[in-house]
Amino acid sequence: MSLWSRITYVFRGDRLNHEIDEEFAAHIEEAIAAGDDPAEVRRSFGSPLRLREESRDARIVAWLDCLRADVVFGWRLLLKRKVTTAAAVLSLALAIGACTSAFRLIDALFLRPLPVAHAGRLNVLAIRIPDFNGTPLTFDTFAYPDFALMRAAAQGQAELIAASLTSRTDLTYATGNDMEKGYVQYVSGWMFDDFGLQPTLGRLLTANDDRAPGVSPYAVLSYNYWTRRFGNDPGVLGRTVHIGSGIFQIVGVGPRSFTGTEPGTVTDIFLPAMMNPAVVRDDNSWLRTLVVVNPGVPIEPLRAKLDAVNLHFETERSKGWAGMSQHNIDMFLQLKLLIQPAASGVSRLQDDYRRALVWLGVLVLLVLLIACANVANLMTAQAASRTREMALRVSIGAGRARLVQLVLVENAMLALFSAALGALFAWWAAPFVVSRINPPDNPAQLVLPADWRVLVFGLLLTLAVTLLFGLAPALRASSIQPVTALKGGEEPHAKRRSMYALIAAQVAFCFVVLFFAGLFVATFRHLNSQPLGFEPHDLLLLETVAPHGQPPESWSQMADTLRAVPGVKDVAIAGWPLLSHNKWSGNIGIPGIPRSEQWGYFISTSPNWLGTMKMRLIEGRDFNSTDSFPGQAIVNQTFIKTFFNGADPLGRTFEKVNPSGSRQLCQVIGVVPDAAYSSLHDPILPVAYVPFRQFDSKGVPNPAGSGVFLLRTSGNNPLSLAPTLRRLVAQTNPAYRVSNVQTQQELVDNQTIRERLLALLALFFAAVALLLAAIGLYGVLSYSVLQREREIGIRIAVGARLGSIARLVTTQIFVSVCIGAAAGIALGMASVRSVQTLLFGVKGSDPSMLIAPALVLLAAALLAALPAVLRAARINPSIMLRAE
């Protein structure tokens, strides 16, 4: 209670003073009434002020009172210099906000443990294989039989959990044509138990749901999905959902916190792993293996044990590979099993964005340092105008520590305002960046809680920022020598030296930011101007499924129906759209030519697909309705170079050799120019276009279960046709369902999402960095001119020319800019290696990538220096010297 009263008195100081005075007055009155001499009584109080101070100190927390006084004083100072304060707060807020946003993203994607029991003991298996060039490739998917063997081997040391890659799947709660998309993940039934998760509703999957293939058609919804899709309706239990060709009964809803094992994707529906049709196949790797290691079990022996099991499995499996060369099999069997920590889950998004986010973090950190340097210079300049005040404080007995506190409190207030504003910025910016990560129709869903982790980071950052820009000015203010300061003589040079050092640092960081921004922008432009080989504009894609399969003739009838729609100029069918990350590959065998280790790539297309895509035929002919696969093929130029040694292939044949040993013979009937295939990041691949009409090994037509109708439209907005087309497909033949409608242009744009995001953000931060550095330069130059006005005036009076004045003013700053730029170039060159994987078609060591930012920086420096030089030149010596 007494501490509390002492704290409250800090904020009611006047009332306390009043009370003390009142008590003294009462004392005096009493004494006079008792007959004492009034003058004597008053004298006994000595200095009433001093006595009051002593009593006051006894009754309040003295240091808190000092702090309160400093805060009030600091607040007045900040208000007095509105423009400077606003500039400092805004630049710091932007930098702090950007840093916090970057931390939120990195934390959510890589650091935050999954909300499950034993997250710290959670690991994931991966396989490392040397590729053709000997550089290691890493995979993390396994076949179920392999998983089952490893799980049995690890018994007692660790529990293995199968979790499929979460995939965006067509599903429906009705039997009609209303397909919708949902994120479906097949998981081991025992996962929920091992993770210590409790159902919100109904039950979760159990080990019993995963005992045998295909016997447990049960589904568990995630809480998030239950809320989004069903509005938390408890009636959802017992309903059925059609996924693929299966029908699942909903038995429960998961806990609120758990959104799956892949940060960046919120799983909607969990199904038992045993319900995946691929569960019996040893040649289909579709699941990640999560490992919950028992306490105290060493990792390495466990890894070796599982490695042996996995190697044995793969060796047995490879014996059936007739189609693969012995060399490739030997390469493959050099695989090594790894156990990697996965406390925060595993996802593709992590792999795709790890480096990008780290580099983004580096950029924002550099911007933060630039902002800090700016504010530090600002504070130093301010402190110069306060030397007399500080000297006075020292003279009347203020301690050094007290002065440090005074300045630090003021700076901490500045930092706190910035942090508050920055928090608002981060509140908006982090979800904004996440929403830009994936294609618009399939956005990344990253859970971004603003909890104590973010708060602690923000507070630490604010503290660091305060010390970074505030400590030096505070120490300098406290080390003031009252004698020299009050005499008016200062030591401006020491102060300016540190300012110039800060300018050099600013320039160096700014250069690095500009350099990286340049690299990212060039990468995006390069990727964006890659020749596609086809025309994506006005091309509408109707991804369609026929769950029970339909013969090719039925597919082409549907294409004819679509062709009759007004606004549709041309229609073709393909197995899937180009640039949708699908790949279909096989070894290529050509009679008379030794087998290449390179793989050939395939895509099935209907007649007139080339015309619809606006791909030119170099020679030969297009498919007609009697062509089939195996049978005919159209190949691209790289295919000819790779497999026919560049010779004219028309009329010649090649075989697609499959790992099982089966061979499919194709005759080349046409040649097309190279075009993009699966991804714009890949080099041009050898591609064979084969007919959509396919036969199996016995010559029986293969019904197609899925495909895409490509519609060349005449309107400006192809997507406006989508509702009409969906309805038309459903009415024409109920066996078909349109599962997705998008444009080819979207697929092209999706290829460059990460690069565009990086380029945009880097450009933004480069602009901010440049602006801050220019402001800093301007500020320091103006300050130094202001300080040297007398000297410059005298020089002009004795006949110095404009040129020499300009040189006088700018030499030092020019030297620091050059030193900074040189340091920046060194920094950039040193770090460019680690950013190379994010680049495409750009070499970090390319001189033009270094020269451009240097020129931009120089131009900005000149622009920033101009006002100060003009000001120096306009100094009128007679006025200046008279004023002295």
């Binding site: 008590e23 004392h27 006994s44 009593s55 006894a58």
Partner: protein, 109 residues
């Protein structure tokens, strides 16, 4: 925080003792009580008394409240708290120990 040099320590002791005899006194009354009962030997200075009173109040040994006077003014009156009584007992014991020790030293000479 607690300075216990002899003079200050004894002032605290005197104030506590006065208040234990007669609760609810204001500062002037405490001062005159010390002067009177010591036979005009001990004289508490205003400059020491009030800081001491305020310090003891903050450490919870005495409690203060405002009381209205006939003149219309308010005056601040003090009384012992339970902690103050305990402190007084301890101080008295300590005083006796110290003074008898000092006496012994003086008698030795």
């Amino acid at each position: 925080m607690k300075k216990t040099d002899t003079m200050q320590g004894s002032l605290d002791l005197l104030v506590l003792k006065v208040l234990s005899r007669q609760p609810k006194l204001h500062g002037y009354a405490i001062m005159t009580a010390i002067k009177r009962t010591s036979g005009d030997v001990l004289n508490a200075e205003v400059g020491s008394l009030y800081p001491a009173l305020h310090r003891m109040e903050e450490s919870g040994l005495i409690r203060a409240e405002w009381a209205a006077k006939d003149t219309g003014r308010r005056t601040r009156i003090y009384q012992l708290t339970a902690a103050g009584k305990k402190q007084l007992a301890a101080e008295v014991t300590r005083w006796h120990t110290v003074s008898s020790a000092i006496n012994r030293v003086l008698q030795e000479a």
